[in-house]
């Protein structure tokens, strides 16, 4: 290779700089709305695609390192592009390509000044996420991490005139910062007091810590990244912030930003720390299981479509943690082939979730624009008014419900295969835990199907629940492009698992020294261990079902007939059927609420039979909020009240304090 050749890391750096430039350009052009929408956002989308392509290129290359002439005196900024970063850059680029295209149409109706600012924040957000993935020292990482948190905070509070949104934004900012402090402390532990130059990741890799310090660093990182990812009990910001943010922002936050936390956890656990203990894995596994089942249970009882998706994100983060927990357990016991399988499942699920969750969130954006309604109980029948959104979201819903032949099924399949291969671990306690864990995963997956039938059925199917809905309009051109790209991604990731797994092998080889290897079975069949043990071919699957459908339809129409007549719905002969007689979101979730009643805090207001104006009101809240967060809040308020005892706002009192402190210090010296 000659000296002036361009490395992948240069391209990624260029993309980041161009994103920042685009953001500033958008801010400067706030008077020209159509220019921002039709040029700036699509150009940003093209950069996303370039980023994804570069990531794909870098996946097969050895790690690139760059040291920038910026930063602290003894600690210039270090960047590094290795297969793990490259994989997450692909995820970022591919998902944000769809979201940026969609944004070009979605933000059209915004006021110019707001749009200019939003354009800047949006592209800064993208750039800082890319920098988080590239950072190779703690300083760079924290700077990028904080700019990611801040830019997303400003994006969440775009509609800051609404008090609820300000409140949601504040909660998000608070939890993000508690998490950031914890991550910083974790880096501090790993740096092990070797001076400022030891804050590079390379120095941390070289350090070998005792198991106590390693555990401390790991727990701090788990807490910090867990707060960002929405792991129980730090999940409370997700269902508040996601509905508050504009839909493309929710899509990026849920689809991509949560994955940066997963990236951070993987980076610290498998790359920076060299000691691993089995109980880390059990802890992560247990947290993941709790988070998954909790998230999906709450998703089932939500009435607000974006809150429902936020809880579903919590569930998926739980599944990812389960995968990471399994990787740690297998890795500790030296079963690296199994660890590679579990890691492949985790990474696969990350990119799957990036696609289908972004798709569902931007879909809710179109619905919100068309109807102005977030509450599913006021929607219904939109499949007839919004065919594009309905068709693409159907793919998203089937994917997230883990149904073959779409992409969600493959990562669940791989994860379950990892569980099935686990007997024979030397620790009998873990052997007891694993079947229970598999059962919980299966339960969460089945409940996810319940949630998604509810989501799709209530919003798109049935009759219009409110009179205005028959005038709802479908998504525009840019919006359609974004929706179709993400839906196509779900299908492609579902149909070509062998190709994806081959690419993921580069990452698992880097982290665990072993890939999955899928060489014997050809490109049609994915067989992670052995074709005799397990194999799955989505292409055959799809061909079989579609083939039988077509043949059946042909036979029926050829040998009988294809006559059809449109008539009013029958409904067992009940004459007056209107939209209000269908299940609402609350009604559809009622069995789950009743089954899992102890986990919810339910407030219900039921009318008496003689009410002239009967009103039903039901609210289901999170117990954790009342058991954990409110006491913390009250404690904080009380502590502040005590502090105010010595605060009088008079300058001579403060001078007195200074004087007393000096005396006390002098007495010690």
């Amino acid at each position: 290779m000659d000296e002036i050749s361009i490395l992948p890391i240069d391209v990624v750096g260029g993309v980041i700089l161009l994103w920042i430039a685009l953001g500033l350009f958008g801010l400067a052009l706030y008077r020209h709305k159509s220019l921002i929408c039709n040029v700036v956002f699509p150009f940003g989308a093209a950069l996303s695609l370039l980023l994804a392509a570069t990531g794909l290129w870098a996946l097969g290359e050895s790690a690139d390192i760059a040291v920038l002439p910026l930063g602290l005196p003894d600690l210039p900024l270090h960047l590094r592009l290795d297969p793990l970063s490259a994989f997450f850059l692909i995820l970022l680029g591919a998902a944000s390509f769809g979201v940026s295209l969609y944004s070009a149409g979605y933000f059209k109706s915004m006021k110019g000044r707001v749009l200019g600012l939003l354009c800047l924040e949006y592209h800064l957000f993208l750039a800082s996420m890319a920098l988080v993935l590239l950072a190779d020292d703690a300083y760079m990482f924290m700077v990028a991490w904080e700019s990611m948190a801040l830019s997303s905070y400003f994006l969440v509070t775009t509609d800051h005139k609404i008090p609820d949104i300000r409140r949601a934004g504040f909660l998000y900012l608070l939890i993000a910062h508690v998490g950031a402090i914890s991550i910083l402390l974790s880096f501090g532990v790993m740096q092990a007091g070797h001076g400022i130059a030891a804050y590079t990741f390379d120095a941390m890799r070289a350090n070998s810590l005792s198991s106590f310090w390693s555990s401390l660093a790991f727990l701090l990182a788990l807490f910090g990244f867990g707060a960002k990812a929405g792991v129980l009990p730090m999940h409370v910001w997700l269902p508040e912030a996601h509905p508050a943010a504009p839909s493309p922002v929710s899509a990026l936050m849920s689809g991509v930003m949560l994955k940066t936390a997963i990236y951070g956890l993987i980076r610290i656990t498998f790359d920076l720390l060299d000691v691993h203990l089995w109980w880390w894995g059990v802890l992560v596994l247990a947290l993941g299981l709790l988070t998954a089942i909790f998230g999906v249970m709450f998703a089932a009882v939500q009435g607000d479509m974006k809150r429902l998706l936020a809880y579903s994100s919590i569930e998926n983060i739980g599944l990812l943690l389960v995968g990471i927990g399994l990787v740690i357990i297998f890795h500790v016991y030296g079963k690296n082939a199994l660890a590679a399988l579990a890691l492949t499942a985790t990474l696969y699920h990350s990119i799957n979730h990036a696609f289908f969750k972004s798709l569902l969130f931007i879909g809710t954006g179109s619905i919100l624009h068309a109807t102005g309604e977030r509450n599913m109980g006021h929607l219904g029948g939109l499949i007839r008014r919004m065919p594009w959104v309905a068709a693409t979201l159907l793919i998203g819903v089937l994917s997230i419900a883990g149904l073959p032949p779409f992409n969600g099924f493959i990562s669940e399949w791989l994860l379950l295969q990892a569980f099935l291969l686990s007997p024979g671990l030397p620790n009998s306690h873990i052997n007891m835990l694993i079947p229970v864990a598999a059962a919980v995963i299966a339960l969460a997956a089945a409940l996810a199907a319940y949630v998604m039938v509810k989501f799709y059925g209530i919003i798109f199917l049935g009759q219009y629940r409110e009179p205005g809905l028959e005038h709802a309009h479908d998504a525009g051109g840019w919006e359609r492009a974004g929706l179709v790209w993400l839906a196509a991604g779900c299908v492609a990731l579902g149909l070509a698992p062998v190709y994806v797994v081959q690419k993921l092998d580069m990452v698992t080889k880097m982290l665990l020294g072993q890939g999955l290897g899928n060489s014997t079975s050809g490109w049609l069949f994915i067989a992670p261990v052995d074709i005799e043990r397990a194999s799955y071919s989505p292409v055959y699957f799809l061909l079989a079902v579609v083939g039988v459908m077509l043949v059946t339809a042909w036979v029926v129409h050829r040998y009988y007939h294809g006559r059809v007549r449109r008539v009013p719905a029958w409904d067992c002969g009940f004459p007056a059927q209107n939209g209000r007689m269908q299940d609402t979101a609350e009604g559809f979730g009622q069995p789950i609420r009743r089954l899992f009643e102890p986990f919810f805090k339910i407030e219900r207001e039921v009318p008496s039979p003689f009410d002239a104006q009967p009103r039903y009101h039901g609210q289901t809240d999170d117990q954790i909020w009342f058991f954990l967060y409110l006491p913390i809040k009250q404690l904080t308020v009380r502590l502040s009240a005590w502090t105010s005892l010595i605060q009088h706002g008079r300058i001579h009192v403060y001078l007195l304090y200074t004087f007393v402190t000096l005396i006390v210090l002098l007495a010690f010296v």
């Binding site: 499949i383 159907l394 883990g402 099935l420 079947p435 299966a442 049935g462 459908m549 269908q582």
Partner: protein, 319 residues
Amino acid sequence: MDNINLALAVVFQLCQSLLVVALAPLLTGWVGQCRAWLQNRSGPGLLQPYRTLHKLFLKEALLADNASPLFRATPYILFGCMWLAAAIIPIIAVDLPFSQAADVIALVGVFALARVFIALAAMDIGTSFGSMGARREMLVSFLAEPALLMVFFTSSLISQSTQLPHIVETFSHHAFVLYPSLAFASIAFLMILLAENARIPVDNPATHLELTMIHEAMILEYSARHLALIEWASSLKLFAYMTIGFALFFPYGIAEVGNWGALPLAIVALLLKLTAAGAGLAGLEAMLAKMRIFRVPEFLGTAFLLAVLGLLIHFLLGA
């Protein structure tokens, strides 16, 4: 030689699928006939399901005014899914090229796909019975599906494979061993079979009282060929579940790889097993009463726990 074998296997695969599609309504007819005998009625005869299907196919299809394409496509999707399920299960022989395309986890996925589509189709017209049926169906399935997966896991762990043909080979060609884990799994499986096929005590396939219906409530708006395909798919599903039961717990008689001579015997064994199982199902249904909808989660929760217990026992005892 390999190519000839593969071609034979593909031909065989097609034959098995067609045979299953043709036989499935007969099984439903047999169960109905047994029920009628147990209730001291003369019964409509074994061939009644075929006559019903023929009649339905001849009729003109009536569609509600607001039915979407999803509603019209669902019967075909259902039929395709159930056909695929029947193609994966080693019903007569284990030589199935198709079973490599989908293992037991994918089999659970096929059933889930079919269920999600019929639940969505039930909500499509927007009638109160339709969404009630969809809600109840999803309630039944969210416990039954993981339980089924756990049953599969137990047998997969014993046979070291998630491919049904390998599971069958392990179980049928070894000396008879009573696995305690499989005993739990088989009870769980029976409960799941009742729930997933809308049988008593969870649902009543012959009910005409709207408020107690689950499966029937979902398909109220279907008529003519669409209804016929759904009914056919339902009988295929019952057939598939029964043959899964045979494959996991009573695999004797299924022909080995390449042993074409054993096929006639395998068909006879299958018919005998189906006759006995159909009569047993009718007997169970005659003895049990349908339970209230909110007792159903308890019933299925028991099934789920039994299945998990079977799995735990396997992990603990290795058997």
